[in-house]
């Protein structure tokens, strides 16, 4: 039977920021199927311009409370790159640990608090505290772990304090680092149990696939997060300085929003894109988690992003331990991490992997170290075109079998699986008003 659909999910819940899902179909034909972004304009780029180099990362980390460490890492790499600042081995290791903690914190929040309720048929994590208390307690413990790592290394997770261009303004004591290691080790079983929990509800996520282009960083020595070269599954590798070659923007007919594209009409970034591009570089625990979840590269099911995030929680947990051991063995003094920054005129580009995908900060400074131009490209913005195309492929494939409410629920899950961060993306997105 040819069906009509009229879905309007106003202010989608359990995502960061404001978005609406709009679907209209008549006689079984989908006429419109888009994710609208209705967040207020935040104009960060214009606010960065005119700021001193020492303040740029303090402003841009506040683009997003959830990816605050990630924005800081991209921002300080851009500033270091512009001034030609070399950081010490100790600062590098500390930044790596921060980077691992960032993925763990955000993925835990997303998998347990935002996505898992769908799998447990609950409207939020709160009723799960009654029905599955052990899961909620574990979720809180793991989220706290990532926060504790950030607290010890740079003061806090949201808007980190001592993580600065050129190094760190604070060095944790060896005692604090050894204590932190114990705190991490105390969560060992919780990490294992996370994989078991997600594997136990794996069948709740729809089995839908659409072939796509994946873009992420890649690194010769490791599963890339902190830095590397840019890799497309369809167009090879380029240096980060040439990011504009792969990240192109265009207007599309059905939307006044600009969408990103490269080889295909859209591409994907994020945990699943990283997994698809670099899965063979996961550590052994990460590989075991992927196997337990039945995840193999390349996987083109957008819902499986939740599984890729789970794999990365495991991977990052063990990487954080590895980097922390290295840091403890270094016997540091404050001078080993103290920033030594000499501003000069120039352009700097920082590209790093944040939980939701590749993040670009691109700054130009004058002689005095004042920012004259800035551009930030946010992973959620890069994913928007891909989200629309997934929805536009999915809806016709299920329109005859599933009710309007079921389809609306599936689409909410699908958008949520991308873990969109709308506050982040809106500073450069165009908004479609219906």
């Amino acid at each position: 039977m040819a069906k009509d659909l009229d879905i309007n999910v106003h202010h989608l819940t359990r995502v960061e920021g404001h978005g609406n899902i709009v679907v209209r179909a008549a006689d079984g034909t989908v006429e419109k199927c888009v994710l609208e972004i209705v967040e207020t304009p935040r104009v960060f780029e214009s606010m960065i311009e005119g700021l001193n180099w020492s303040d740029t990362s303090l402003l841009t980390c506040r683009i997003c409370g959830i990816c605050s460490v990630g924005h800081t890492l991209a921002s300080i790499q851009a500033t270091d790159n512009a001034f030609g600042t070399e950081i010490t081995e100790a600062s590098y290791v500390m930044r790596q640990i921060m980077c691992m903690a960032e993925q763990m914190q955000s993925h835990t929040l997303h998998v347990y608090f935002l996505a898992a309720p769908d799998a447990f048929d609950a409207p939020s994590v709160i009723p799960l505290a009654g029905s599955h208390p052990e899961v909620v307690k574990r979720a809180l413990k793991l989220k706290k772990l990532a926060n504790t790592i950030c607290d010890v290394l740079c003061g806090r997770h949201i808007h980190p304090i001592s993580l600065r261009p050129g190094g760190f303004t604070y060095l944790p004591s060896k005692r604090a680092l050894v204590g932190l290691k114990q705190t991490i080790l105390d969560c060992y079983e919780d990490i294992e149990a996370t994989v078991e929990t997600i594997a136990s509800v794996a069948d709740k996520f729809p089995g839908f696939e659409r072939e796509r282009e994946d873009i992420s960083l890649t690194h010769p020595d490791e599963y890339a997060f902190y830095n590397g070269r840019i890799k497309s599954s369809k167009a090879g590798e380029i240096d980060t300085a040439d990011y504009e070659q792969f990240i192109k923007e265009k207007c599309v007919k059905h939307s006044t929003s600009k969408h990103a594209y490269n080889v295909d009409e859209s591409f994907a970034v994020g945990a699943l894109a990283r997994f698809n591009n670099n899965a063979d570089q996961l550590n052994e625990q990460g590989k075991a988690a992927a196997e337990a979840l039945g995840l193999t590269a390349p996987c083109y099911n957008p819902f499986a992003n939740n599984f890729a995030q789970t794999v990365e929680i495991v991977h990052c947990y063990h990487e954080a331990l590895k980097w922390l051991d290295k840091l403890i063995a270094m016997d540091l003094s404050e001078a080993d991490v103290t920033p030594n920054v000499v501003p000069r005129a120039g352009r700097g580009i920082g590209v790093t992997e944040v939980p939701r995908g590749m993040l670009v900060h691109d700054y130009t400074y004058d002689d005095a170290g004042v920012c004259t131009q800035a551009n930030c490209i946010i992973p959620t913005g890069m994913n928007l075109g891909n989200i629309d195309r997934d929805m536009q492929t999915y809806v016709p494939s299920v329109i005859d079998q599933r009710s309007q409410d079921e389809i609306a629920h599936d689409l909410e899950m699908m958008v949520r699986a991308y873990d969109p961060c709308i506050s982040c993306s809106v500073h450069l997105l165009n908004v479609e008003w219906v």
Binding site: T13, P41, C64, I126, K144, Y170, S423, N430, V431
Partner: protein
Amino acid sequence: MAEKPKLKVSFHDFTSCEGCQLQFLNCEDELLDILGHVEIVQFREAIDDKSDEYDIAFIEGAFTRESDRARLEHIRKCAKVVIAFGACACTGGLNVLKNYRGVKEAMRTVYGDQADWYETSVALPVEAAIKVDYKIHGCPVPKQEILEVVKSVVAGRTPRIPDYPVCVECKLKENACLFHKGQYCLGPIARAGCGAWCPSYGGRCYACRGLISDPNNNAAKDVLEEFGLTVEDIMQEFRLFNGVYDVAQPPDNAHVKSC
């Protein structure tokens, strides 16, 4: 004895990074206890339920477009207690920076020729639209103050919010003074309550919790003078979070509305 009905709590976000809502979720050790005393009925970032029946409304984010006024007024009508949650809600936070760039110019920088498509106006505190009962300052808000305010409102008493400068807390922490390290800091006039968070990790205080109600401006100027600085030298840092205060206004900047 019949159990006292739980107070209903809602969270609402306007122009912000949503970090303060996350900071609420970051009270991991206390979260389940808090939920024993209050019921969260609206929290878009974390739950599906949307209810207009609530006693306490937490509002995160700055008021940056006129069309948000009706939503704010609606929240005020529904809630018995309205709490401005975080720097953006309390003072407009760093969103106010765009007022200094000129809103039109800022929009053009980001959106180019399509800037006129989107509605925005100067960034203002929530108080510019509706009455606020309590403010939890900070970028982000300190966890201890979230707990103090939640406990106080549940118990029906006025929360204790510090009104003395960050320097007091910094001294108690025995931090080396940043001025003595050759850096400057807004600690002498900034509202405490964060535990001197930034200076304790080698960062300067940017007064993200706003100014104390009666700052000793002369003493602050003396400190600056002692270290060879003028008020104008620190204005850029000052405006990062406190652009909304009259003292931050440049004399020739007529388009910035203060409150």
